[in-house]
Structure formats: structure tokens, C-alpha cells
């Protein structure tokens, strides 16, 4: 259950940053991504998947969230 900081990259994409691992990966897809809901299954560009119960309303980034490995 890593703590992940999500921030907006220069290119507009969301960056998935795991401080513990110094891992920076772009988020490829988010299952639920609307103004009033954000989360569910999340896929990174390297193919790995994480899960977070959808958050309402959509959080403003950067923010730190707890994910589960999907």
C-alpha cells in the first residue's frame, strides 16, 4: 500500500511518484476520471496497475494518496 504523490507534469500528464522507491511514472489511464469522481484502477505507462477507491470530488493535484497494488 504505497503512499503516492500525484502531480501534474510539464506535459499535462499526471505523474505517479512513490517517494519510498524514488519511482516516477506517468499515469496512462484512470478508470474513473470526471469532475466529481477520480480513482479506481490506474495503469501506469510501464504497464503496472494500482487501485484506489474513487475519491469525490476529484482531488486537486499535487496530493498524496494511498494506493493498493492491483
Amino acid at each position: 500500500m504505497p503512499n503516492v504523490m500525484i502531480r501534474i507534469k510539464d506535459n499535462g500528464a499526471l505523474l505517479f511518484y512513490i517517494a519510498k522507491k524514488d519511482q516516477e511514472d506517468e499515469i496512462a489511464t484512470v478508470e474513473k476520471d470526471t469532475d466529481d469522481e477520480w480513482g479506481g484502477k490506474i495503469e501506469l505507462t510501464d504497464g503496472s496497475e494500482y487501485y484506489i477507491d474513487p475519491i469525490t470530488p476529484r482531488p486537486s493535484f499535487p496530493t498524496t494518496l494511498r494506493f493498493k497494488r492491483a
Binding site: M5, K21, D22, E24, D25, T45, P62, T64
Partner: protein, 494 residues
């Protein structure tokens, strides 16, 4: 194999050959830390492993967490007293080694080059050093009343004996009414100095950054900070002038020539400018999350990267700043062009191998390229995945990238790749100089500098030229090689 450009296969074969002498397990481990660069790769973690414990039995040049906190992040904050808490050696042998220049009167209102230590003895280990610590802090307050605060930089024994430095810090803060910051940077934490940077960042976050959150501040829309410039040989100064010429106001610089007040005022900035990503990204990310301050990495080595970075920084601001930026670049054009015209013919085509710390293994590549040189190998002592991610695009294809390279590997790579110049640290310097290879220290700038900014580029170019084209190198021959030659000469004449 000293062709100018190696193919990926040749570089791979070279790695294999060098690894051959290791026992099976060591070979497997070290192989993961060496890669042949391929610019197509997006994620370095697929090709290179980093930030792992060094292999026992090999020579590594890494430092410890205490070095990362006291030596790098906290030490240069000039108006605070940093106590090397524990035995005297850790602080004394590293004292003033990094040449973080500062303005002030040492021993009166600044303390950068001094060594404060609790000088642990056997009885402190046995009975604990808490009493001693609070006593020396009160003494410091009496002897150096103009200090703005104290940090406690833990050395190994503190963590081992379990002293409660946090409690002492809180009590002393009350007694002296100044910030007293405990830093749990015991040398055994983590695999290198890198975790020390992180721990130091966390201490700034927990004990300093919010101190002035409720204070009024006369801000402007152009307030920026310089974070992660350690002012080695004056680097931060030659960077700061450029930002000021753009019309920005630098309200804080860390930690080179930095003060406690500047750190406390940093959350008032509109943009944090981050030079050393490795050592200060943590606190920049924290400020982005907590205060909504964006941060931007920049690179002030060599005119190409400087112009790129200045424009990048300007894009955060209005048209006046953008126009000023173009004027700044224009203003220095004649100056840096003259530097290139003078030195490029003397350096063109020369090949460089680097092995350094935080940001330089990738940041100085552009400066060498501005002089027509090529970096054929580079590596980090304590880099992480995110550093290598940022390096792959900067390095040419089929060049060598090495992580926590061992003394043996580095020597072998140099013997076979035959670079014209090596840029690394004091521990490598004399080995390579004795091998007759031009060498520059790229941590301390070999007691020269600054290298940042346009002013720094002129010095950088001169230094590289005077080292590389120095006639001494062909005269350097170690005795055993000379004997060898004489023997062959004798044999030939017989």
C-alpha cells in the same frame, strides 16, 4: 578499442569483459549497475539498477547519511551552528571540504567553515550524551550569541545508543528561544549519502519551513528561490545574477551562502528553482503539495543549457520577464561566443568520462558539448532511477552509463575507452593522474570555479583547456612502465 565511437555491441562486450574477473554472484550484481545507453529507453529501471547497497569487497566512493545532511544540505546554512554530534572524526575530517562560499564573519555571525562537535568519549557512549549535548548548546549560545539556531547532526553512535535528541532539541529551543533542529542522519542509515539528503529535507520540513507561515511578507509577483545550489566556488552567485537580470527577485538561496531566515521565507515564493534535483527534490515536492508552489529543474552549465533554462523559467512569468530574458541571453552572447571561439578549436573532438554525484553526471554534458567535446561515459555515486531517467536522453547512444562504479571497473573502463579527460573526485584524481590521464575534480571544481552561469562557463572552458592541453601528461610515466620499456629496449639491442 579506442575508436571514436563504439557500437552498442562493443560497449556491451566491454562491460562483459570487465566483469569477467568477478566471482559469479558479484558479476551478476554488478552487471545490473552497468548499461549501454539507448536514447529510446523511457524508463531507466529496465536497464540499470541504482540506490542499492554497495557490494562488500569492492571499492566504492560513496559517503554516509551524515555526509549527506551535515556535509551537503545543512552545513552551508551559514548563520546556524551545526553540531556534529558524536565522535570528533566525522566532522573534523570533512570540515570545510566542499568550499561552499559565503559572505560573513566566521565565528561571529557565520559559522560555515567551523567544526562544532560533542566529541564523544567512551563514557558518553556508556552513560548517554544527552546532558553533554544540552550543555554544549548553552555554551554555543554564550560564545556565539549571533547564531540564528542550531542543528544536531547525528553521527552513527547516537542512533546506536538511542539518545533522545528530539527531547533535548525541544528543551533547548525553549531555553535559547531559537530553532534547534535534531537531524537523525546517522551514517548507517541508507546505502549512501542520498538518504542523508532525504532525512535533512524532512528535518527542514518538520522544524523550519513553517516557522513564518503566519508572518507578513512584502511579496512581489517575481519572487523565486534557488534551491539545491551549494555555492561551490561561488556557483550560486553567478546563477543569481542571471535571474536578477531577468527581473526576478531571489528571496532565498539554499543552502550555499544561505540563512535560516531564507529557508523560513521560502514558502512565500512564486516559483522554486531547483538545481540539484537529487538532494532537494523532496522539499520542493513538499512545498508544491502544501503551499502550491511549482518547482522547476534548471541547468546553468554552458550557454546552450543556460539559454534553455532561462527561457523555461521565464515561461512561468509575464511578457516583461520573457523580453528581459532574451535581452540577458543577447547581452552575454558576444562574451560566451568568444569563449567558444577561443577554446573549441583546442578541445574539439575530445572525449570525456565522468563519475560524480547529485546532478553533474548529466548537467555538465551540455557545457562539454558547447566546447565540441563528447561525454562517452557517465555515472552517479548515489543516483536513483529518476536520475538515470533524466540522463538517458542527455547521453549519446552506445555510451557507457555506470552506477556506483567500483574502483576496478572505472580503471578498466578508462584503460579501454581511453578518454582524453576524466571528471571525477579527489579519491579518483591521483590514480588517473598517475596513469597520465588529464583529470579534473568535478565536485570541488579542483579549487576553481564558479562553473555555473555565463561567467562560470568562461572559467570552466579555461580549466578544461589548461588541464587537457597541459604538456605534462606525456611526461608522466610510472616507474614500472619505464622499466618495462628499458627492458624491451635492451632486449631489442641485444
Amino acid at each position: 578499442m579506442s575508436t571514436n565511437h563504439m557500437t552498442p555491441e562493443e560497449t556491451q562486450a566491454l562491460i562483459q569483459e570487465v566483469l569477467e574477473v568477478y566471482p559469479e554472484d558479484a558479476k551478476k550484481d554488478r552487471a545490473k549497475h552497468l548499461m549501454v545507453n539507448d536514447q529510446e529507453v523511457e524508463q531507466s529501471k529496465k536497464c540499470i539498477t541504482s540506490n542499492r547497497k554497495s557490494l562488500p569487497g569492492v571499492m566504492t566512493v560513496r559517503g554516509c547519511a551524515y555526509a549527506g545532511s551535515k556535509g551537503v544540505v545543512w552545513g552551508p546554512i551559514k548563520d546556524m551552528v551545526h553540531i556534529s554530534h558524536g565522535p570528533v572524526g566525522c566532522g573534523q575530517y570533512s570540515r570545510a571540504g566542499r568550499r561552499n562560499y559565503y559572505v560573513g564573519t566566521t565565528g561571529i555571525n557565520t559559522f560555515g567553515t567551523m567544526n562544532f562537535t560533542s566529541d564523544f568519549q567512551e563514557k558518553d557512549i556508556v552513560f548517554g550524551g544527552d546532558k553533554k549535548l544540552s550543555k554544549i548548546m548553552l555554551e554555543i549560545e554564550e560564545l556565539f550569541p549571533l547564531n540564528k539556531g542550531i542543528t544536531i547532526q547525528s553521527e552513527c553512535p547516537i542512533g546506536l545508543i538511542g539518545d533522545d535528541i528530539e527531547a533535548i532539541a525541544k528543551q533547548t529551543t525553549k531555553d535559547v528561544k531559537k530553532p534547534v533542529v535534531p537531524v537523525r542522519c546517522e551514517g548507517f542509515r541508507g546505502v549512501s549519502q542520498s538518504l542523508g539528503h532525504h532525512i535533512a529535507n524532512d528535518a527542514i520540513r518538520d522544524w523550519v519551513l513553517h516557522n513564518r507561515d503566519n508572518d507578513a511578507f512584502d511579496d512581489t509577483p517575481y519572487d523565486v528561490t534557488i534551491i539545491g545550489d551549494y555555492n561551490i566556488g561561488g556557483d550560486a552567485w553567478s546563477s543569481r545574477t542571471l535571474l536578477e537580470e531577468m527581473g526576478l527577485r531571489v528571496i532565498a538561496q539554499w543552502s550555499g551562502d544561505g540563512t535560516l531566515a531564507e529557508m523560513e521565507n521560502t514558502p512565500k515564493a512564486k516559483l522554486n528553482l531547483l538545481h540539484c534535483y537529487r538532494s532537494m527534490n523532496y522539499i520542493s515536492r513538499h512545498m508544491e503539495e502544501k503551499y502550491g508552489i511549482p518547482w522547476k529543474e534548471y541547468n546553468f552549465f554552458g550557454p546552450t543549457k543556460i539559454a534553455e533554462s532561462l527561457r523555461d523559467i521565464a515561461s512561468f512569468f509575464d511578457d516583461t520577464i520573457k523580453a528581459n530574458t532574451e535581452k540577458v541571453i543577447e547581452k552575454y552572447r558576444a562574451e560566451y561566443q568568444a569563449v567558444i571561439d577561443k577554446y573549441k578549436p583546442r578541445l574539439e573532438g575530445k572525449r570525456v568520462m565522468l563519475y560524480v554525484g547529485g546532478l553533474r553526471p548529466r548537467h555538465v554534458i551540455g557545457a562539454y558539448e558547447d566546447l565540441g567535446m563528447e561525454v562517452v561515459g557517465t555515472g552517479y555515486e548515489f543516483g536513483h532511477n529518476d536520475d538515470y531517467d533524466r540522463t538517458i536522453k542527455e547521453m549519446g547512444n552506445a555510451t557507457l552509463i555506470f552506477d556506483d562504479v567500483t574502483g576496478y571497473e572505472f580503471e578498466e573502463f578508462v584503460k579501454r575507452v581511453k578518454p582524453d579527460l576524466i571528471g571525477s573526485g579527489i579519491k579518483e584524481k591521483y590514480i588517473f593522474q598517475k596513469m597520465g590521464i588529464p583529470f579534473r575534480q568535478m565536485h570541488s571544481w579542483d579549487y576553481s570555479g564558479p562553473y555555473h552561469g555565463y561567467d562560470g562557463f568562461a572559467i570552466f572552458a579555461r580549466d578544461m583547456d589548461m588541464t587537457l592541453n597541459n604538456p605534462c601528461w606525456s611526461k608522466v610515466k610510472v616507474p614500472w612502465l619505464i622499466e618495462d620499456e628499458e627492458e624491451t629496449a635492451v632486449a631489442a639491442s641485444a
